[in-house]
Point group: D2
Chain length 319, copies 4
């Protein structure tokens, strides 16, 4: 369903080309003064920067949050916080050639099969626009965590296979891909500091399981690892036992926790692609189609604030 | 908590050195004839084989399931299925030197910090013995899935950095590590076939998110990826769009789904290690201690049936 | 928390004197054409009629629903339906004399003790205004049930101790109470027809348990019974066994289900009452205060549509 | 499903004529020394006394609890507590004439319609035997509450229409009904004392809603009310506002809470009754049948400890 968490619960709604996206934060403690500027700053990070491959639409959305409940003079009442962010920069005409066409790497066809109906303008719920609500709630979660001395941060550590030591070339790589009508992937690393020992549940809701669940729920994510991750499968136990990766038996140890999240390239690319199309007679054919729209050439660049938000939502639920 | 799933719900209990492990399966459909031999066979796979690095204890446990409810002449009633598996081969004396010592890579200390008390004999709930209940329930889940044409399988694809093409050397690698009082890691690949389109939820409970959550809840797992995983972060979008990885927008497409799970080496190794110890005065010191017990030299070898079980529990809840 | 149901889930937000009330309906099936007129008609029933004791505020609110997501041309997409209803007729000045005073029979003091903060204008979340969101979702739930042949209806059967056979005197009784600066209680009876056998869970989530839970969550409700209810405690078994009350072992039998809900008189009355007051020095004193505001003289009169809504939400979750 | 609570969670299993009943208590805090004698005493109260109408079977069951996990030397570890109580006094032959017959007032037919299969020996999950697990968990919950100064008690206040002031006649009334091959109902009153202000949630999970849900989940319960209950529907607001019933806006006020629960007469009576029967050709006919078995003539007499248990489970989850 569209709810994340069981104590600090975020329930979201909204299609990319509908009236608004938004959500309800239930279980936020009372008496917290919300830093609205910090929320706006996080939404700005989500929109991204032109040079870093952000889409034209993202850059045009103002992302003004309307706070509808749960606050009195900016202080939380302990009651549910309803909020909406209106969609203002849609261009549904961009999708006029896609009404009966299913974009590769997108959820168009799987939605149609699941629901028997879909909003063909933009990705509907599958659009990255849905992450606006996650960032609003995640920003508040980070504020709550900060008061407890816990910080959550994330950064891009690889673009198109180039690591941090060659970060100065990332913009050029992204630009080059965009000029080719193509896109590139990347890896985001998250860091949790200041978390005291004892957070996480021992069997199913292990801390690493909740982090993996939350990260894999972000659009375009293909993999998750923590500590040394896949590399540990190649080490010997005597070596691994020397690592301090911040989680033991699913429970935090008090040490820093580092994790990595793999983002595939955005599947919305300008170059012509073969796509499945639904003909009026109900049969499927293949067509060569270009995706118009205004899309990111590298979604990973805008992802760190989303990664932070999801990690913060996990932690605020487990603490 | 100790419950997995919301429709086909498994709740588990049991410490490795207590009376029994077991669980309750709630939400199993009525009218299903349980194949008890298949359950026994899966438990046997979990125990492992001597040459493949299984522990002496695992090999000695008979793992007899006592079915307490929910069945009439072997057919499910639709009511909760209670089951227990008694622990018969414990050797608590193996842990007599560990009562106030915290093994590196184990949950000993994090449990103590979380609960203020722990069962120092074996790993308690953190022991891999807890996975017995997962395999019992997972085996039933696989039977239900098989009737719907869905198969779930898993196999080891890498041990100590050696891939499948050199699988003939795995036993030697494991044996060598054991002789060194050490252990090795591995990678398990899962395959889901026959799943129809439309399974999975679009936002938080994406199919890949539920799979990641379930796999990361298995002891010793450090990473999860599906499709081409981390490699996709280095590809271009035009290339990725040609992949068919079985999930789109969190929802199954009808294609096969492949995923990989990284297991670290078992942290219980025979060689002497530096461990933290709790002194009678409440202070922590360091000691050099050997772990006795009877432990796997490569947990990944016994893991495929656990990976299958968790994938089956995910699917049976989403279908 | 502020979520009702696990399949067709309603999450609500909104204080009586805030910007808006609203909610998210998650899990509504796709492909349903919403009858917006029926929703408006149910909201109109909730507002009540002047003669029947409805408050001036209720009568002034227009209760326009803004639908924000989950719909395409009035048809459900299967995605969450976000909606808001703006508060337009608040008169916060009515509460200026109540900022540090706690009305008897209200949640003012218990909120302050629970959260350490409260919105003193109106009842906040405890106001009957919160039921707007229940009626919106309940109206949709009734539409879904109607397609399955299930009808849910409710009516007042007693006011101030006068049963249906003297219903012609109810308005006079209510009017008299209001003139006295007082209020009266009532009983609402619900009727579920057309429900097929097999709905409800056998142990905890018995159909009658879910109905009781939902009804007792309505403000001002003090009791619930189904079938012959408390009268059955005085019957013999041979007599009770002849009754057909529509539920057996927690599961519907296919017969009609009748239940009754007791509403206390609205506690907001005009006459002077002794109230607890919080003095600037933190001590509690007693004061004689009148409640201004604009309140119902008999909440039971507006309650049938709320009772229907809650019953419909229960059923749509169990079916 | 078969789980009660979300923090202190009881999941139960077991048919009345199966191997055992039992459950898992998940979320019990660590470090609590269980008073096993108190648990045994509560189970003894559940079995009842011969003169007070308890069934012969109940009196014969030893109700020995086997504790399987979650405890070390009688102290809770914070891990799930698995327990079973074997069924030892079944007499399945009593039900040999009922295999294709559906007892009036029982769940026999509704189970068959829901699941397509049923265990015809005794009531299966619908039997009052299922409440053994509730009493085990409730007894522990009461111990936890007692440490926080909260007491939960319950007593019979009416049998067959005779109130407490004529309690000396109850045994005679019950005995008379039994001699007639019949049974009688009763009312149980619960009392919660020492609960501090602030417990309960303001909208759906109101304290009274959770209490109603828990009580209505007990077999044979037909009604619930708190404070003055249905009588308040006949009072004026000025009068009701003077009552202190312990809950305001769904949240405890710190005052005592009193509630009443109506139990119908046990439907298993010895005298001949008309019952529906399923003929070999699939048609339904009517037959005159006697119920053998060994049944209570007044279930309300054994109910107080069950009422206490459910109230305690509600409170321990909300605190």
């Amino acid at each position: 369903m569209n709810t994340f968490g069981n104590k600090f619960r975020l329930t979201t709604f909204g299609e990319s080309h509908g009236v608004a996206v938004g959500g309800i934060i239930d279980g936020c403690p009372s008496g917290i003064r919300i830093d609205f500027d910090a929320v706006a700053a996080d939404l700005s990070r989500r929109r991204g920067k032109a040079g870093a491959g952000a889409s034209a639409r993202a850059l045009q959305e103002s992302d003004q949050v309307e706070w509808l409940s749960g606050l009195l003079d900016g202080i939380t009442l302990g009651t549910p916080i309803g909020f909406i962010v209106r969609n203002t920069a849609q261009q549904p005409d961009d999708y006029s050639n896609l009404e009966h066409v299913f974009r590769p790497g997108h959820a168009d066809l799987s939605y149609l099969k699941k629901y028997g109906i879909r909003d063909a303008r933009g990705g509907g719920r599958a659009s990255a626009r849905e992450t606006v609500s996650r960032v609003v709630a995640g920003s508040i979660a980070k504020q709550i965590l900060a008061e407890k001395g816990v910080s959550v941060s994330a950064k891009v550590i690889m673009v198109a296979g180039f690591g941090e030591e060659r970060a100065d070339q990332w913009e050029a790589l992204i630009s080059e891909a965009r000029q080719d009508g193509d896109s590139v992937g990347g890896v985001v690393e998250g860091l949790i500091s200041g978390l005291k020992a004892g957070v996480g549940e021992p069997v199913f809701d292990k801390l690493q399981a909740m982090l993996a669940y939350s990260m894999m729920s972000i659009p375009a994510v293909k993999g998750f690892e923590y500590g040394e991750g896949f590399r540990e499968a190649q080490m010997r136990g005597s070596r691994c036992n020397l690592l301090r990766d911040g989680i033991s038996g699913g429970i935090s140890t008090g040490d820093d926790i580092r994790f990595r999240v793999a983002f595939k390239p955005t599947p919305s690319i300008a170059r012509e692609q073969i796509m499945q199309a639904l003909e009026p007679d109900g049969s499927f054919t293949e067509r060569i189609v270009s995706i118009n729209g205004r899309h990111d050439a590298c979604v990973a660049m805008r992802a760190p604030v989303i990664v932070e938000s999801m990690a913060a939502l996990v932690l605020v639920n487990l603490i």
